[in-house]
Symmetry: C2
């Protein structure tokens, strides 16, 4: 069976790291059909639209999408793309790799971020010159989908349960629905959970990241807390992510366009290649996913390394080394 | 002039650290009248109400309130108390002290947290079995008050300007109003600012806290990001806070009730005593505020120390040492 993969490099180093990840996918014995499309600041300058209709449609019909990065237009690109693939969960592993400088080298977390609602549902009103409002939406149905996913995730993997991070002491109805629904799904599955207030999580994860493993969060909490974990493992540079929907997914590095080094061919392709490993797993190619993940980890440890990790290798050198190690 | 100070020890170690801070205030040549009142889990058990009307009224009429901690009922106590003193800003310094174990010892930040609105405005609805909503409110007027305060804060202190942390790329109207209003107040004052997305802040502050100084945030962002900074300086144990209103204020340690050690007389009173220093400054006793702050810092560095800092001194020992050092 051929998998149709939409490839959206976007802006800045997205143009360099996305082709690198495609090269790695091409090196496997899997039948892919890659279809490239535009999005981001550059295409907006030309066409007036950061996310052209064709790009949206492509992501909405492909089996999976590999996305690079977008600049100023990031929100206009990435939020509709998450919607295009019907993604209800954003998986964000934050793991410190051996040999990489980290504030907290023992960090090894996975965030399962609700990907459709919360403040991202985006009903805003300017009621008057003085007053603006935003309607935060939380539903049992979206919380249930996330809870089911979280249960399967811990059952399939090597996890004892998950932690629900929320702010239900203040957002009693909305985060109350979130917490209670996920909790009851977990009870149905017999999956162990605990809960933590999102502010307390921020303190605790700095002091001792090992007390957490899988962390299930509302949308904005997942955004902020996973970026915090990124800080603990040494930055966004190595973090992959998967926006998972029932029938398709969108895979992207957590980092941005890195305008300071864009165009020089020295961007680190690791996060995008690990995102490609998540794509492989999503499509059921678990063995290849593991091969890619291991090849990246080996290369991170032994080199060659790009400048962000203190080396002087090019994107191409690192990609070639990863392919050699496969 | 006599200052009337409401004293609300609350639950757990609040009962131990609040009297300690009162002792320190009593050791100064200032005319205080202390009036104690109840709040928290204990009084709720007895009366059914976590925040008795008299306590609210006392805080609403006293010149300043010193609060300890509350347990399960924290939100039911602290949010109305902030309202009782008409507090529009929560000042949260997060500073690593010499000799104290910290993830990032170079951290020295002050958060100015909007204290009245955002998701805390608290209009929640259960629209159906499935759907809950919360109306997040941001006004120009509250943002302007915070902006004015932030400008005076950096002008009076040793600060080059401030950073606005927000999520206006997603919450375009609401955080847009927040950012733009504060920005324009700063422009009127000729105060320098920069801005950062709150998720990016979470990464950056871990990697290099010294790039920030004064950070101005919406309510929930201030809650989470200041707790993150607490993690970087070694925990909530030493963090003070001031809820400032135009005519009165509420001063409280950021830590909670510490049920594991409550009643043993070994709680660290430092955060509450530094909060009392903020109370002194608020009431115009700048010199005494500095004396108290310095006495706490000297004692933190030279001991005696409570168990949380690896010592075996009692709350009383530490309080006595601080008073001796004044
Ligand atoms: C670009 C922005 C809208 C996005 C988000 O907030 O989800 C980004 O921060 C992310 O986490 O992928
Ligand atoms: C207890 C809770 C309502 C409170 C808040 O969220 O403001 C606390 O976390 C704080 O930061 O003082």
């Amino acid at each position: 069976m051929t998998h149709e993969i939409a490839v959206i490099p976007g802006d800045g180093i997205g143009q360099e790291v996305t082709p690198a990840a495609v090269e790695v996918l091409e090196a496997l014995e899997i039948d892919f059909e890659f279809r490239e499309a535009d999005a981001g600041d550059r295409v907006k300058e030309v066409t007036g639209e950061a996310l052209p209709e064709e790009t949206y449609e492509l992501a909405a019909s492909a089996d999976a999408t590999l996305f690079g990065a977008a600049g100023e237009t990031a929100a206009d690109v990435i939020l509709p793309l998450r919607d295009a693939v019907d993604s209800f969960v954003n998986i964000r592993p934050a793991k410190a790799y051996p040999g990489i400088d980290a504030v907290r080298p023992e960090t090894d977390l996975v965030f399962l971020r609700e990907n459709t609602e919360g403040v991202y549902a985006g009903h805003e009103d300017r009621l008057s010159e003085d007053v603006a409002t935003l309607t935060r939406v939380v539903t049992q149905s979206a919380s249930r989908d996330l809870g089911e996913f979280a249960c399967e995730y811990v059952e399939d993997g090597d996890h004892d349960g998950f932690t629900i991070a929320h702010k239900a002491n203040v957002m009693r109805e909305t985060d109350g629905v979130f917490r209670d629904t996920i909790q009851s799904v977990a009870d149905e599955h017999g999956v162990e959970t605990d809960e933590v207030l999102m502010d307390a999580f921020a303190t605790k994860v700095c002091l001792d990241p090992e007390q957490f493993d899988v962390v299930v969060c509302p949308n904005l909490a997942g955004d902020v807390l996973s970026d915090l974990a990124a800080g603990l493992v040494g930055g966004l540079g190595l973090l992959p992510s998967a926006n998972v929907g029932p029938e398709r997914g969108l895979f992207e590095p957590v980092h941005g366009t890195a305008p300071d080094i864009a165009g020089e061919g020295i961007a680190n392709p690791a996060a995008t290649i690990i995102s490609a490993a998540m794509l492989l797993e999503y499509l059921g190619h678990d063995e290849e996913a593991e091969r890619v993940q291991n090849a990246v980890e080996t290369t991170l440890e032994n080199g060659p390394r790009t400048a962000d990790l203190g080396g002087d290798a090019s994107t191409e050198d690192v990609t070639a080394a990863i392919i050699d190690t496969l």
